[in-house]
């Protein structure tokens, strides 16, 4: 429990109506709930809260919509859950400049709606899209299918404001698309799970919505054929928006009728001016003929956007369906995707576990969804360890992105550290010397 003095002070800063003591958080928070939820109205209040927390050595976890608090290492006792939901305005949208500035607590859906009115978009496509806030997306480096064409958060963020552990407001970058003034501290904050600072607002590039789009679905008998086709497309001048591979098990998690029965489906997203999309619709099927697709379909319009929404939401769908399952995220090179897909599948099946796979074939990111059907709980832990190790031995990296608490506690979710790890520890020590920001939840136990 927080002390009376602490409660009083926090109440003074944000108003007693914005302070909840001993909250009950159903399912969205791993382990014992934080001792308080504090809901500041603006940056100044955030700074005050942090200044106070720093002085009193209170631990702080930033939160938006709480969709991803189960990511990363389990939290230790948390004194303050700092909700950024009241920092929820789009502060500066310059459509003619293709830049948009928003508070961290703005939901992705709200941002998307505002951009759509100007025929623009932020093609980040992270999971939990219905509720996620941009602050949380950036803090977890969320991304989706269109990272192939547009990159991820680090390629879209132009600048941000953040609050440090000791309550200073600082910024990195600015509002313009070319900017090399000062260190690119925003790069450190992206994906840092709120362990270096708390993101207050961000300026991103906005992108024009392409006039036309269509998706080609190609069914294959084997991962080898599907990925050979993917590589052919990647090395062609066609520049697809997305190139996602799903196995039958993953596909069955999406309520889609087309191509039911294919062992592997390669979803090729295409977009651009009408003639470009038509050209790709003609030429891509021809290109992949030598990889013997068993089946092909072309979808557009609402059907297309539904499909990609569901692919984008595969991880949340899985977690909802299989609470006892794990999600392992591997990053490998393009030519190693096949090995990553097949060896994960084999390892899982060998251990009596079930496995579904989604691979961003052009980006080398593989999501292995593994859950126990008949196997003992221990098996899942061993499988995680094995897969992470195998990926590392093959030259890639892997983390256990999502897992039940009892599995997380018994496996090394972050994989091995490398020779740059001391620098990371050094940064944490400089930015958060008392370890009050999400201690223990980040890479390597930082």
């Amino acid at each position: 429990m927080l002390s009376v003095t602490c409660c009083k002070r926090l109440g003074e800063i944000v108003g007693e109506g914005n302070l909840t003591l001993s909250p009950v958080l159903n399912g969205r928070w791993p382990g014992a709930p934080p001792k308080s939820i504090v809901r500041p109205a603006d940056r100044e209040q955030v700074c005050e809260v942090l200044r106070f927390a720093y002085a009193e050595r209170l631990s702080v976890a930033a939160a938006g919509s709480m969709t991803k608090q189960r990511l990363g290492g389990p939290p230790r006792e948390t004194d303050i859950l700092l909700s950024l939901e009241r920092l929820n305005r789009i502060t500066d949208y310059q459509a003619a400049d293709l830049t948009v500035s928003v508070h961290a607590g703005v939901r992705m859906t709200e941002l998307a709606a505002a951009l759509r009115r100007e025929n623009q978009m932020l093609p980040l496509d992270p999971p939990f899209g219905a509720e996620a806030t941009i602050g949380g997306v950036l803090a977890t480096n969320g991304s989706g299918p269109r990272r192939l064409a547009y990159g991820a958060a680090r390629d879209m963020v132009l600048g941000m404001h953040f609050v440090t552990a000791d309550g200073r407001l600082a910024k990195s970058g600015g509002k313009v698309v070319k900017n090399v003034a000062g260190y690119d501290v925003a790069k450190l904050l992206i994906g840092s799970l709120g362990t270096l600072g708390i993101i207050m607002d961000v300026t991103c590039k906005a992108f024009p919505i392409p006039p036309a789009s269509a998706t080609l679905l190609c069914g294959f008998e084997s991962a080898a054929q599907a990925l050979s086709a993917a590589r052919r497309i990647l090395h062609s001048p066609f520049a697809p928006q997305a190139l996602d591979l799903l196995d039958r098990e993953a596909w069955s998690l999406l309520p889609e009728a087309s191509l039911a029965g294919a062992a592997y489906v390669l979803a090729v997203g295409t977009a651009g001016p009408g003639p470009v999309v038509e050209r790709m619709a003609r030429d891509i099927p021809a290109l992949v003929q030598s990889d013997h697709p068993a089946d092909m379909a072309r979808i557009a319009g609402q059907e297309e956007s539904n499909l990609w929404s569901r692919i984008q939401e595969l991880t949340p769908s899985f977690l909802q369906a299989r609470a006892e399952g794990v999600v392992i995220k591997s990053s490998v090179v393009i030519t190693a995707v096949e090995e990553a897909v097949t060896s994960a599948r084999l390892a899982a099946l060998d251990a009596g576990l079930a496995c579904a796979t989604l691979a961003r074939a052009g980006s080398g990111i593989v999501y292995s969804y593994i859950w126990p059907e008949t196997a003992a709980p221990d098996t899942l832990v061993h499988c995680c360890d094995l897969l992470v190790r195998q990926t590392e031995q093959a030259g890639g990296r892997a983390i256990v992105e999502w897992a039940p608490e009892n599995v997380k506690q018994r496996t090394n979710i972050w994989g091995a550290q490398r020779d740059d790890f001391p620098l990371m520890r050094g940064l944490k020590a400089e930015f958060d010397p008392y370890g009050i920001l999400n201690p223990g939840r980040f890479y390597g136990g930082i």
Binding site: V176, A181, K187, D420
Partner: protein, 481 residues
Amino acid sequence: MQKSLPAELASIVGPDAVLERAEDLMLYEYDGSTERALPQAVVFPATTAQVVALIELAKERGLVIVGRGAGTGLSGGAVAAQGGLVIGFSRMKKILEIDIPNQRAVVQPGVVNIDLSQAVQSCGYYYAPDPSSQKACTIGGNVAENSGGPHTLAYGVTTNHVLGLEAVLPNGEVVHTGGKGLDSPGYDLTGILVGSEGTLGIVTEVIVRLSRLPEAVKTLLAIFETVDDASETVAEITARGITPAALEMMDQLTLRAVESATGAGYPQDAAAVLLVELEGLREGVETQGVQIEEVCRKHNARQVRLAQSEKERQLLWAGRKNAFGAMGRISSSFYVQDGVIPRTRIPETLRFIQKVSERYALQIANVFHAGDGNLHPMILFDGRDREQYRRVVQAGAEILEFCISIGGSLTGEHGIGMEKNELMPLLFTEDDLTVMGKVKAVFNRDGRLNPGKVFPTSKGCGEIRVPPQIGTTPGTIALTR
């Protein structure tokens, strides 16, 4: 007895890779900027192990270290502001690996930018970030400055194409950040190192992303009777969400110099031209071409010319990329500025620059990456006229202040270096600088890597350095705010 420094250096890199005689050091006193300072010695290691040994020796001797690629930088990044040891990378210029199936290359920092693209061209690939100095500048330098170039409008700058680094820290430790794959777990150390201007580590290997060459390229030259028309065109192209691969502007003064130097067919009587490059599938290039022409004509373009051959296209680009060099034909000296503003504010910024030019009685030529809002006003002057030179620096500072006041930044691509470090407080608060200082404390605690760069050396309001010119003494001009 302790060996002399040159002897110690020679024992690491070999005697032919050490420069320490005054007449040799003078060649390394300067870079592409107007800054100048003599290092104590210059060395050219051939391996990472040699770099480590050099850095360990520097640590032992308390020497500061400055990395140097080709010395083409425009903010004094490679100038040994506080003397010390310059580590030049011209002997570390191997392309270590070309991995086309994975769209990656691994290079030593001394590899020249264009050489990398040329090495993978026959495989249908290239390295996208294309600074105008790409025939000389090195990948290592590009990493230090987070270099841009005309084609970064569509494809991003250096940091969007660098996936991993090998770097040596001031204590001699070698670290490897990132890798060939994306999303390396942990903090994005590659991201913080790129653009750190040699103040956080000495990079000895770079893992880059290679890009597929486009199917079709179309280069258009749009000719305008007024600068306003050209800049309104840029604003509208941006607003309409048409994204060319490159969108460059040059004004009349620049055109005269460029045409005289290159004979590419630039019209010398136009007020301004836009050089537009469209890339992608044939159909996409066609569509964009029609759209661009429409916008140009809407803003009274006198002519929209399409380059008819690869040769013509190369000439047009040679003209643009050699703009700085060509200025030498019309002025003995000139001061290249680097500012960036929101694209929709280009018209008013160019009008402001015109006013500055009139007020200070200085000719200012404009060439820039219009599509990014990254401008390069070139202020012409007579290098022998000290009074004029001070006015040049002041005019430049006013332009920069204006850029910041309308939401821009201090530098779009040339870096802060020692040219603009004292101006950092115009853009950053004390808290902002404190945070950056924390990063520096982790990598470069005793400040021996490229000291005098990026961070202000004096407290208080921004003062601009007047870099040394022949016959003048360096000094400062306080800015009015």
